[in-house]
């Protein structure tokens, strides 16, 4: 078994999907959380980071960067990427869509003007997000009626991706109220024993 180190801050943020993949697969790893207020980042770690950023992965001394590249590598290694080439592409497609949603969230989350922030947040939750979720609900339905998995007939990192997006979107069922298939999928994934165990045990951070 290779030696894995995942380097990020002490938050869920852009590393949580990778952590979920490790835990769902039952693979041990060093969950390095750097405190930038104490100078732990950049510190000596920035020089190791291929693009000078976190998160990045160290596998037996070799570095891999970019959140999704890391997550996909781990998913592939632990048989969570999809069973066929087409399924892998479909999983990639869903992950990219979640990323598009996350990007929208980060836009208003980082907005300093409070009034503008409220406006952006309102638009996101009332218009943008329901539109994205509507598409996802349809695509889930296309997969054998939607009471199983997003892709194929087994858990993939795409399922973990949407279960992770749940936390980013406030950690409540509210955004998924009108989308029963997705709500059901998220519940099922978060109830997966190893996923549930990690969600309960992980450090509690605001984001």
């Amino acid at each position: 078994m290779p030696n894995y180190q995942l380097v990020y801050y002490n938050r869920r943020g852009r590393a949580e999907l990778c952590r979920l993949i490790f835990h769902a697969a039952g693979v041990p790893f060093e969950d390095i959380r750097l405190d930038y207020t104490k100078g732990e980042w950049p510190g000596e770690w920035k020089a190791k980071a291929p693009f000078g950023q976190v998160p990045f992965l160290i596998v037996d001394g070799k570095m891999l960067a970019q959140t999704k590249a890391v997550a996909r590598y781990l998913a592939r290694e632990f048989n969570l990427a999809g069973k066929t080439s087409w399924d892998q592409a479909r999983a990639d497609m869903f992950i990219d869509e979640f990323d598009d949603i996350s990007t929208e969230v980060y836009k208003f989350a980082s907005e300093k003007d409070e009034a503008k922030k409220a406006e952006m947040s309102e638009k996101f939750y009332n218009e943008t997000l329901p539109r994205h979720i509507g598409y996802l609900e349809n695509l889930l339905k296309e997969n054998n009626g939607g009471n199983g998995y997003l892709v194929g007939d087994s858990l993939t990192w795409a399922g973990l991706g949407i279960a992770n997006a749940y936390d980013l979107l406030g950690g409540t069922d509210a955004p998924f109220e009108n989308f029963p298939l997705l709500a059901g999928l998220i519940k099922r994934v978060r109830a997966h024993p190893k996923v549930a165990e990690w969600i309960n045990a992980r450090p509690q951070t605001p984001f």
Binding site: P50, F51, L64, A69, R76, D92, M93, D96, Y135
Partner: protein, 206 residues
């Protein structure tokens, strides 16, 4: 051989990487292009997320430009020789997406003064920082006179070469201070299948 149809606007944009992958692989496909002023049309219903591009393979549909490009690269053996190399190619392609995201702040800014300032920042700080990391990664791969990952052409090299076309929309001579990347772009563009495609593809502003 499956039947491939790539549906996008009549621009290089987010589909060009996939078109380059088809070209290098020598695999025929229908390069379906929709003019902007005819969008949305009946094809929108086929789009998994309501957006272009999408790829149709024997009637099944795939969305998201990078998922499409990666699928094609994998099918045509352009993703690297092992799982780790695949990861490295993904990492490099994602870095270009980050650069594009930063470029979009400038691209979509309507206030002329703010726009000029964003353009300046992108060209003099943001872009060189990213390209510097990429130049270094290329150098670490056996000195940088070959390919950016492993020892053969991958979709990551095509991403580098393709970026020259869209970066020049906002930054004159983006690779001037990066000799290894410049060399790689030249080598890729001179690859016969790539050269042939560049010569015959529709000439569009972007």
């Amino acid at each position: 051989m499956p039947t491939y149809k790539l549906v996008y606007f009549n621009v290089r944009g987010l589909a060009e990487h996939s078109r380059l992958i088809f070209a290098v692989a020598g695999v025929p496909y229908e390069d379906f292009r929709i003019e902007r002023d005819q969008w949305p049309n009946e094809y929108k219903e086929q789009c998994p997320f309501g957006q272009l591009p999408f790829l149709e393979v024997d009637g099944k549909v795939l969305a998201q430009s990078k998922a499409i490009a990666r699928y094609l690269a994998r099918e045509f053996k352009l993703t690297g020789k092992c799982s780790w190399e695949q990861g490295l190619t993904d990492m490099i392609v994602d870095e270009f997406s980050d650069i594009l995201s930063e470029m979009r702040f400038y691209w979509y800014e309507s206030d002329p003064e703010k726009k000029a300032a964003l353009n300046e920042k992108f060209n003099t700080e943001t872009l060189p920082k990213h390209l510097g990391y990429l130049e270094n990664i290329l150098k670490q791969n056996g000195g940088g006179e070959g390919f950016i990952v492993g020892d053969s052409l991958t979709w990551a090299d095509l991403a580098v070469a393709n970026s020259n076309d869209w970066l020049r929309l906002v930054c004159p001579n983006p690779f001037d201070n990066f000799p290894l990347l410049t060399g790689l772009i030249k080598r890729v563009r001179e690859t016969p299948q790539v050269a042939e495609w560049i010569a015959k593809r529709p000439d569009t502003p972007r």
